[in-house]
Symmetry: C2
Subunit: 273 residues, 2 copies
């Protein structure tokens, strides 16, 4: 199938435009897309360079590019509209309706969403990343008092990426603790966890998927064997049941879906969203 | 100012809807928003529960809520439109124009963008997170061969969060190496870095900001002193100049902006975006 050129043109990092574009394109799984991001297009001169780039692609590919943009400067949007392309202005359909509903004019300031306009919020996210690194894999349990959530799960059940996502994206302080044979033999969680029982959430995973993940890390080990994986996930479920710990399954959920689920079920509210 | 209730209603994780909503609201800095996410609204029954929730808020706050949604199911969108609210359907203005431009029907499948529909891409992101953790802070330099980028910078210049962002968001393999006095005294980068010269990118930071960040970590230390910070950032810049290493400044850029800059300047292309 012919390649369809896609451009994402933004006056800031382009994160919002990329996210929307990615989601919209995912609705066209048969498409063969050639995607290019043009971030930090923040002067009329740069807009004109972007227009030239888009027009060149239109010639090279023999088809009109689709251009996704989030300009807040009217002048830039007008200049971009000169390109030989289908332009999708991602904010345009909403901003004026929002102005009316809120009874306020929009600020027309770029880079507000993913810049460091709000330094307090940004610092919170960075501290949360440091916390997640510091309290990864059972380390520094004495600092669980500062956690918003403590994630429990067996090795390779997806704890670390989920913690990092919740920290980086929302600024939540999330520690994680690996359930091991010690916990299973005693059929008991350590005091450091029980002292913060209300912050605990569990991750589990199907044994066959765990076997696959562990096998990539340590092929043919006892640790990666299907029998060991079955034992581990069963024991983890028993511990979650014993303490009535809310949990979900990372087998078919992405970190974004796990993050939303944890946020929702633990009643977390981010200052950032 | 009166609080304005905001709802984000999605049949998936809500990540896309939250990102757009957050960006749109950031254009109204004077607003006082009470924001609530309702993810995984994936049945007509759940839509009706969401409608009841929105209508209750309309009564509680005495003002029509704004509702941002990304339903791909027509039936759900229609049911939601019964709520006493201003509904912003974030895909609706684009999907039919895209269908026309691409000559394809959209799939109307939910959860495509932030689920694990494409397991290969998802596994790549998770491997990239593992790589970033494994090669954080100069560790495992023997694995720099697998890196897409090796970030250099002095302690606390923002390397780790930037690496994790590039890994989690785009699936890039990014290692980071802390520049220390050893490197400065020799005025030379280690062989492990020079062997991958084309993958190296630098982060720098203003001395006053570095002083502030280090002081939170180790108050009143030599390490955090303004003099030491000034020395470190000057030496780092000298090394970047010596090897003509592209670099940018984390003082006034967020991880999203640094990530976009690095991606753009290093010519990285993600399979995911």
């Amino acid at each position: 199938m012919r390649e369809q050129p896609i451009f994402i043109v933004s006056d800031g990092s382009g994160v919002t435009a990329e996210t929307i574009c990615h989601t919209l394109l995912s609705q066209f799984p048969a498409g063969n897309f050639n995607q290019e991001s043009l971030p930090f297009v923040d002067s009329l001169e740069k807009v004109n360079t972007a227009v030239a780039r888009v027009n060149q692609a239109s010639l090279d590919f023999g088809v009109k590019p689709l251009v996704f943009t989030t300009f807040v400067e009217e002048e830039y949007a007008v200049a971009l509209s000169q390109a030989n392309a289908e332009i999708f202005d991602l904010f345009d359909p909403f901003i004026s309706r929002m102005e009316e509903a809120l009874g306020q004019n929009s600020s027309h300031q770029s880079g507000q969403a993913h810049g460091i306009a709000n330094m307090t919020q940004y610092n919170r996210r960075m501290s949360a990343v440091n916390y997640a690194m510091h309290c990864d894999d059972g380390l520094h349990a004495q600092e669980y008092g500062n956690a918003d959530v403590i994630l429990l799960g067996v090795s390779r059940s997806g704890k670390t990426p989920t913690c990092l996502y919740l920290a980086l994206h929302f600024g939540f302080y999330v520690a994680n603790y690996p359930l091991t044979e010690d916990d299973f033999l005693q059929f008991k969680l350590p005091e450091s966890i029980l002292a913060h029982r209300d912050k605990v959430f569990g991750l589990n995973i199907e044994a066959s998927r765990l076997h696959q993940i562990r096998s990539e890390r340590r092929p043919s080990s006892q640790y990666a064997s299907l029998a060991q994986c079955q034992e581990d996930v069963t024991q983890a479920r028993n511990l979650f049941d014993r303490y009535r710990i809310g949990h979900c399954d990372s087998t078919s959920y992405s970190v974004e879906e796990l993050g939303s689920t944890i946020k929702h079920r633990m009643g977390l509210h981010s200052e950032l969203y």
